[in-house]
Subunit: 410 residues, 2 copies
Amino acid sequence: MSGPDRQRKEAGFRERTRVADARRRLREAVDAPLESERLPLGEADGRVLAETVTAAMDVPHYDRAAMDGYALRAEDTFGATARSPAVVRTAEDRVGPERAVRVHTGSEIPEGADAVVMIEDVVELEATGELEVEDAVAEGENVAPAGEDVAEGQELYEPGHRLRPSDLGLLRSVGRERLAVGRRPTVGVIPTGEELVDRDPEPGEIVETNGLTVSRLVGRWGGRATYREIVTDDAEALRAAIQRDLTKDVVVTTGGSSVGERDLIPEVIDGLGEVLVHGVALKPGHPVCLGLVEDTPVLALPGYPVACIVNAVQFLRPTIAWLQGAEPAPHPTRTARLERKIASEPGTRTFARVALERRDGDLVATPTRASGAGVLSSVALADGWVVVEESREGIPGGERVAVENWEPSG
Amino acid sequence: MSGPDRQRKEAGFRERTRVADARRRLREAVDAPLESERLPLGEADGRVLAETVTAAMDVPHYDRAAMDGYALRAEDTFGATARSPAVVRTAEDRVGPERAVRVHTGSEIPEGADAVVMIEDVVELEATGELEVEDAVAEGENVAPAGEDVAEGQELYEPGHRLRPSDLGLLRSVGRERLAVGRRPTVGVIPTGEELVDRDPEPGEIVETNGLTVSRLVGRWGGRATYREIVTDDAEALRAAIQRDLTKDVVVTTGGSSVGERDLIPEVIDGLGEVLVHGVALKPGHPVCLGLVEDTPVLALPGYPVACIVNAVQFLRPTIAWLQGAEPAPHPTRTARLERKIASEPGTRTFARVALERRDGDLVATPTRASGAGVLSSVALADGWVVVEESREGIPGGERVAVENWEPSG
């Protein structure tokens, strides 16, 4: 970032890397997931599996009754109806011809039985102790055979799978008590800018919000954030702050990432390590800088709040996923009719914030503001954004668009 | 649940309440949200707002420069181009005719200025100290006026809003440091069934999975679960277990919720309080029982794993939302082409688990199993489910369907 081009770069970005290329360079720098750790099942929700899981046993592990009723031989019920019931006698634990054993849902099917007749289809004759079976059952009916749910040896999950509560249930049912999962990446979040204050801003001062927002996003994405104190625009202070957090798995700064005279972070990264990308063809938020210092990704996000968030979602979210051994999940999206046109420049990926509203049974997406990378309310009061790809020059009103919800609720 | 109908109920449910009606009865029983608590912003992500938030100040709270450059009077630049620049002189802190003050992004706009010309459009003439402005700016250009983002007095959020990281940033920018949010509901989760064991099942035994899965779902939905020990099918033991957890905001049991002779929980609830609903027209999972004991909702979920999960999503998830003062968020859905038909009975709401796969650019939803409320893999290995409404008799293959992801990743 130094040398003969310095003067020209002061006056703007000479070139802007496309989002996909910037992400690819970052991906190559994050060369391997972090080490894994073994956790009890109950603590593994949301974590990324770091092993292949093969079922160590059948589920169920025995032939079991799927209903309350009587286990018997299906052939003894053939042709039975309420008017012409089949008659059998009860037995204790072994089924023979015209013998039936009382079973409950989940009971082991007794030896000799091949079906279960439901309790509501049986009339117990108290006088004789006989049973009248009022409906025929086929062989295997109301029996859950061993391995019906999961067969021993079946491959259930591959590394990279993000665990959900139902997965934990299934894993426990095949005998797993602990799982190898990717460690949660630690992220140092450093807000920078001499204009920033924690509270009670004077004219010329701004309340710090980016570090707060990014820290909470890190938590949602599976990382552990350390939200640092504000650092002023001083190269030595910035260098020290970044170096202190090289013990983390990722360092994120906010502010000071552009090419102005107070934008010192790209040079600081360049001095400590390597700048991978500076300036990305996205809007809002092109002045982002992605670097690598001592194998630690350092993501310098722009200081404008919307620009900061857009870049965090584009670059920090996948980094946290990669470090856990996963790909980032697609954002939940909803399809809506665009209320009015979105402008964009070809070659730039544009993130247009929209509010969603149901109108006459149709979902309508209305852009919250035409522009304003600094206008935090345009994203905080939106329901998501529409991504305009580089190949397009805006999207006309009326078109059906996909609205990405990048901050979903559970 | 007692009395002359007892014999008939043993043989099945006389009637099944529709899902919407069951939910309405439960909603009426959960008559008010829990008390609120005041939290620092940084701890409020994912919580439900319990107050109306009005902006106490403008954001920005002063006219500020939106770019690095020079603040000046727009009229002094009219007609300026690179070939015919406007010439102005620098000033310290006050702008007059043909005077400009150096500003940085975020600086207060000095008195007398009404626009900012970007630094890259200015050439500094070292010899004379004059500035050549190579582009005209309009009044207000590159100035973010006070209140541009948020105006003092503007209503930003209403109670019931589930907070996201970007909301926290916006709230901090308007001077909020703490927020009133709904308390997290506490949930006692009691797995029941004499066949259940924690590990190493013998024939006739089943590893407990429902309580584990439900506990983790409670956490995702904003509640705090206490995952209790297994309780056997004994009315006294079940009564004691439910009574112990009446200090919680919700009690959930799994298993023993149907009408068989070992299904004791509905009677236990009836003895302690009131059964609101027993038997719901949904599949898999009709044998659910919803009750109220000493104002505490008691949800008795069926023991079959898929039935348990379906009912937890239908009834426990909204209960946790209501107690926080919110409505449950819609599930993220994706539209896909149904690979083959789903069967369902009219009058019953059916949840058909499907796996999603991209094929020839089209998203295809394939039902994982035709049936099997006990088949946990049918839900754990699925990507979501298709809901077949009561009004329909199945869905033919080839139709475009909405696949609900009820366990989304962040």
